[in-house]
């Protein structure tokens, strides 16, 4: 696909092994984030129960909004905790 790139030619590649972030939903072409899909949502809700921020998950803005909506719905019907102590 892409031609192999010589290191240091282009791009901010200071951290050599930093994994590139990408939006899971764009990548897998998930058109709709269902609040019932707990397995999917749980990946974005760490132990504490908070919603994983975009800067960490790499989710794009559009999908983060949908994700947020889905997580809040899932919380409402007790599929996902609001918080854990």
């Amino acid at each position: 696909m892409r031609a192999p790139k010589k290191p240091g030619t282009r791009g901010p590649k200071k951290f050599l092994f930093r994994r590139r972030k990408f939006c899971k939903f764009c990548d897998e072409k998930i058109a709709f984030i269902d609040y019932k899909d707990i397995k999917l949502l749980q990946g974005f809700v760490p132990e504490r129960g908070k919603i994983l921020p975009r800067r960490i998950s790499g989710t794009c803005a559009m999908h983060q909004r949908e994700l947020q909506q889905a997580i809040k719905r899932a919380r409402n019907i007790a599929l996902i905790p609001f918080t854990t102590d």
Binding site: M1, R2, A3, P4, K5, R10, G11, P12, K13, F17, R19, R20, F22, A31, F32, D34, Y35, K36, D37, I38, K39, R73, R75, N76, I77, A78, L79, I80, P81, F82
Partner: protein, 153 residues
């Protein structure tokens, strides 16, 4: 988890909703059948169409609800005027054996359609040579995911 509801026989007239109800764990099968049947009747009486009712059965709640640790989940998919939704929610509130509910407008079909349309438009406007409308080679972000095995995912 469960698949999206199947397309209705006659599409269009009303909006589609999805109501999840949680019954207390001590509600018997018969009682639950009664409750659900009553709600289904509301849909029919109000001029709506019931698409499907799913039963997830008993599952552990993420937190305690009215002192219950478990709940019996039932999902109803239907197309109906908004008055029906109001009536269903009113009845759920009155019914003590139901401990929680959530009604959601089912709009994922629109979203899928919009995504499809956007993709089609991208292909129409794509430069020659890339039929999928993707980013032409050499114009992407400067990172190279293929360079390091196992970098993605």
């Amino acid at each position: 988890m469960s698949e999206p509801a199947a397309a209705p026989a006659a599409p269009g007239k009303h909006r589609r909703y999805e109501t999840t109800i949680i019954a207390a764990p001590n509600v018997t099968e018969d009682e639950l059948n009664q409750i659900v049947a009553a709600l289904e009747k509301v849909v029919a009486d109000g001029g709506g169409t019931l698409i499907r009712t799913d039963r997830w059965g008993k599952r552990r709640l993420a937190f305690r609800v009215r002192k219950h640790e478990d709940g019996i989940y039932v999902l109803m998919f239907y197309e109906a005027p908004s008055a029906v939704v109001r009536e269903i929610e009113r009845r759920i509130r009155i019914e003590d054996r139901l401990i929680k509910f959530l009604t959601v407008l089912v709009d994922w079909e629109e979203k899928v359609a919009r995504a499809e349309a956007a993709r089609a438009a991208r292909i129409r406007n794509a430069p020659p040579g890339r039929l999928d409308g993707g980013v032409p080679e050499g114009l992407d972000s400067g990172y190279d995911e293929d360079a390091i095995p196992g970098m993605r995912g």
